[in-house]
């Protein structure tokens, strides 16, 4: 697998495990998201970091790792990042991840406490799979499963994933209309 690419996920009893990289400078919010992901079922393995820079290290996207590609790093299936962070914002991280020239870039979901249309459009324009308002709720976390690579999931859940993805394509990627009601997202 190339650096920066989504992984196959591990295997656990009942299905595939999805590795989620949670990026948020707030320790409280990191812990809450981690708790939500773990509560939703055994299928999420959470890696939580406090900065975009640290996320880059986990993803193997730092300059020194680019020079030494054999350095080991963790594989990630989905990135769930806060938008507003010091030094490297969630937008910067999103841009860097999407700029990687790999076959299957890792899905990136942006979290933000601000429901700003421009911010949302900006993120979607450079490839963010979704934009979720904070604080996260249980149904937000359940949506994350649909961003895992569907062809890798077990046949029992494959149909629902396919339907979810089709819906996503029709709705331009987000079915969370109630929280973004009245908002036209291009």
């Amino acid at each position: 697998m190339e650096e920066g690419e989504g992984s196959n996920g591990g295997v656990f009893e009942g299905g595939l495990e999805v590795r989620v990289l949670v990026v948020d400078d707030s320790p409280v919010e990191r812990r809450m998201v981690e708790g939500l992901l773990k509560k939703s079922g055994a299928m999420f393995q959470v890696i939580a970091v406090d900065s975009g820079k640290r996320a880059m290290e986990v993803l193997g996207l730092t300059d020194d790792k680019a020079e030494h590609p054999t350095v080991d790093h963790q594989k990630v299936d989905i990135i769930l990042t806060d938008y507003s962070m010091p030094e490297m914002t969630g937008y910067d991280l999103l841009k860097t991840v999407k700029e990687q020239s790999c076959r299957k870039p890792i899905p990136v979901i942006i979290m933000s406490s601000e429901n700003e249309p421009q911010r949302i459009s900006r993120c979607r324009a450079i490839g963010a799979e979704d934009f979720i308002l904070k604080p996260l709720q249980t149904n937000d976390v359940l949506r994350l499963r649909s961003y895992a690579r569907p062809t890798e999931l077990s046949p029992r859940t494959g149909t629902k994933r396919k339907m979810a993805l089709e819906l996503m394509a029709e709705n331009s990627g987000s079915d969370r209309r109630p929280r973004l009601a009245g908002l036209a997202v291009s």
Binding site: V28, G35, K39, S113, P135
Partner: protein, 149 residues
């Protein structure tokens, strides 16, 4: 005091905090994340919230004590405090932070100082109730552990 009485006291405390506006429904989300596999989750997050909030309040006090205030830094801390308070359901703290952000955007030092005092007031009111909550949670956990053993 019996386990049932402790649980009842905790419920009464939490309900009163909702009525006073100290907590909102997001706190119920936090409570729902506690289960047999994470028995101390609420206590852990509340403790983290309190430590983090006090750190930020200290930094905000220092920043606003400067002759020339760096409103960008102030806003960054207020934003983070707003976020964490929103996450745990600390409603009054969150609302006070929203007001604080407004003054930051206006570069209004007096307003910021007044807002900081309000945030502190709301935080410490909440903190005092959280302390009681954590004590009750601890006693309940102790009971549960005894019963398991």
């Amino acid at each position: 005091m019996s386990l049932m009485a402790l649980r009842e006291r905790l419920n009464v405390l939490v309900n009163s905090m909702f009525l006073e506006g100290l907590l909102d429904q997001q706190f119920r989300q936090l409570q729902m994340l506690q289960d047999a596999s994470s028995p101390g989750f609420v206590a852990e997050v509340i403790t983290l919230f309190c430590e983090d909030s006090e750190r930020m309040l200290t930094e905000l006090t220092k920043l606003l004590d400067q002759a020339v205030v760096d409103y960008q830094k102030v806003d960054a801390y207020v934003h983070q405090l707003k976020g964490s308070s929103s996450s745990v359901g600390a409603q009054n703290v969150k609302l006070a932070c929203i007001q604080f952000k407004q003054f930051c955007e206006e570069n209004n030092k007096e307003g910021c100082l007044s807002a900081l005092n309000m945030v502190k007031h709301q935080y410490y009111s909440l903190r005092s109730k959280f302390d009681t909550m954590l004590q009750l949670e601890q006693r309940i956990q102790a009971y549960d552990s005894e019963q398991q053993n």
